[in-house]
């Protein structure tokens, strides 16, 4: 087995939370399906079955995604700092592994391995829950959960989101690695203070909000680039439920906008900044052994 695989295994040994958090989260959701009062849930008959099934899959997947984002952020902040804090860096650095390889293994864990674990966990949880609910809940709900096309679409959606966020959030992930490689203590504080200080300094000196806007755009702007939001592009179904009109998509295909994401300069400027910050993190890792 090559070095990279051993480094990833090492991350699983060190950070058991990588699989334990999704396992516990999935376990809780399955328990809710098993013992919750699901037989009381009812949905209006007019409600499209597809929308119910899609909503269920998105809710499960979305929950995993939110938890994953929080955990990955923490992981990136901790991963290089932890070795310095407990001085085990003196052991790791006695191995013939370059600091570039080490830093890349942390980045790959955060942007590829952890999302893959959550992807599998979300799928398994959805499957188990759908199975339990089709037995325990009303037949209408049961039927709504087994649209094969929806399941396939959600797989694609997940992978699409994993790939685009890995590229889009690269500068943020790399920034967290820089803090993790640099800070002598209080990584959390050091990750938050510099951006806040920059935003305040800019506002105070020039009265402008360029940095704040850029940061906000980076944090929240992914959805605008990766998905179409214009109503005309997709196949929509209109349903009237009592006095409300509900418009629901029948397919996610129309929403995905990989071309828009890939052709946006913001995507690649961010990625370039990310690469620069990774170089910084590696240089800090080479020179800093003390916490």
């Amino acid at each position: 087995m090559n070095t990279n695989i051993w480094l990833i295994r090492r991350e699983f040994w060190e950070n058991r939370a990588i699989w334990m958090i999704p396992a516990i989260l999935g376990g809780l959701m399955v328990l809710t399906a098993l013992f919750g009062q699901v037989n009381r849930i009812s949905i209006p008959l007019q409600f499209p079955s597809h929308a119910v099934g899609g909503g269920f899959l998105l809710a499960v997947g979305g929950t995993f995604f939110v938890v994953m984002t929080v955990y990955s952020t923490w992981y990136l902040l901790d991963c290089l700092y932890a070795d310095r804090k407990d001085r085990s860096i003196l052991f790791w650095k006695s191995m013939p592994i370059s600091d570039t390889t080490t830093v890349m293994s942390k980045l790959a864990t955060a942007l590829i391995v952890i999302p893959a674990v959550y992807f599998v966990a979300a799928d398994l949880t959805s499957l188990l829950m759908a199975f339990i609910l089709s037995v325990r809940a009303s037949s209408v709900i049961g039927a709504a959960l087994w649209h094969v096309d929806l399941w396939l679409q959600l797989q694609v959606l997940w992978l699409y989101v994993i790939v685009t966020s890995a590229i889009w959030y690269l500068p943020l992930a790399a920034y967290l690695l820089v803090v993790s490689a640099w800070a002598k203590r209080a990584v959390m504080l050091w990750s938050i203070l510099p951006p806040i200080a920059l935003v305040l300094a800019e506002r105070w000196l020039f009265g402008t909000h360029v940095i704040a806007n850029q940061l906000w755009e980076r944090l929240a702007g992914l959805g605008r680039l990766t998905f179409h939001d214009d109503a005309g592009c997709c196949s929509w179904v209109t349903t009237v439920v009592e006095n409300d009109t509900i418009r629901t998509p029948t397919s996610i295909w129309g929403f995905l906008n990989p071309g828009g994401f890939a052709s946006s300069p913001e995507t690649w400027i961010g990625a370039a900044v990310g690469v620069g910050l990774i170089v910084c993190a590696v240089q800090l890792r080479i020179r800093r052994t003390e916490a």
Binding site: W6, D86, F91, K93, P96, S98
Partner: protein, 285 residues
């Protein structure tokens, strides 16, 4: 054969504090060298520089490589234990062996497991469950199973009790040392390593103050214990250090005239510890 480690004007500052001040030294293959100095003399900084763990000024070549830039390549042929108990608390003993076996081309797994079989450390234990002495044994098992040309030990027994210290050095002597290995070891407990070493480097305030083989020390230095009435005659031979001891004065000489000294009192060889104290305190005690 050329030197394994070659340092020229090696310097390092932490802010305004000078840790290494144009230190010059070399380590030849097959030697067991003690880098000896008081606390804060620059021992650890010198080792960190040699191992590629810190930036430095001046020229430094270790196994023909530039340590900071080529640490990963260097670590194929050099290994080190920098301080005890640095194996991470979450690491399991068997995983540690798997990992090193996986990433280190010169690791001999059978040697590590044979070494650990002699202890009562079992594979599934985590480092946090082991005592400091046991952790050191695991680290030693991992390190000594690597077929490296250079082994660097930085205060390897710091904080260990006497039993664990003895076990450490016994293992080093019996299971590791042979004529193909070069070992560089720092300690401030000179007595502990004295009979292991072939060479010593004394370091003080960031500078090398003595670079000598033990054989040279034996022939080059001598001490004479003289009674007070012969003190003036003895001082005429230009001792570099004086020490009062039980009513007598012990004088240390470099390149002594042994015949003259024998007439003044009892002549004996200087131990490394004696020489260390004399060189580093300067003049009379």
């Amino acid at each position: 054969m050329s030197a394994l480690i070659e340092a020229k004007d090696l310097s390092k500052k932490y802010g305004t504090q000078v840790a290494l001040d144009r230190a010059n030294f070399s380590v030849q293959p097959g030697r067991i060298v003690g880098l000896i100095g008081p606390n804060g003399a620059g021992k650890t900084t010198a080792l960190r520089a040699i191992l590629g763990l810190t930036a430095y000024e001046g020229q430094l070549q270790v196994l023909g490589r530039e340590p900071l830039r080529e640490r990963a390549e260097l670590m194929r042929d050099a290994c080190f234990i920098a301080d005890v108990a640095v194996l991470p608390a979450w690491l399991r003993v068997d995983h540690a062996i798997d990992f090193v076996a996986g990433v280190h081309p010169r690791f001999r797994r059978d040697r590590a497991t044979a070494f650990l079989a002699k202890t009562d450390i079992t594979g599934r234990r985590r480092m946090r469950e082991l005592s400091k002495g046991m952790k050191t044994q695991v680290h030693l098992a991992l390190t000594m199973a690597i077929d490296a040309q250079l082994l660097v030990l930085d205060e390897p027994t710091l904080g260990l009790d006497i039993l664990a210290r003895r076990a450490f050095y016994d293992a080093l002597v019996n299971d590791y040392m042979d004529e193909t290995r070069t070992i560089l070891i720092t300690t401030h407990q000179v007595e502990e390593v004295e009979n292991l070493l072939t060479d010593v480097l004394f370091i003080d305030k960031g500078r090398i103050v003595l670079d000598s083989s033990l054989d040279d020390i034996a022939t080059r230095y001598a001490a004479v214990a003289v009674a007070v009435d012969k003190l003036d005659a003895a001082r005429a031979e230009k001792p570099f250090y004086e020490r009062r001891l039980l009513g007598k004065v012990v004088l240390y000489f470099e390149q002594p005239n042994l015949e003259k000294l024998a007439a003044l009192g009892e002549v004996h060889a200087l131990s490394v510890a004696d020489l260390f104290v004399a060189k580093l305190s300067g003049g009379a005690e």
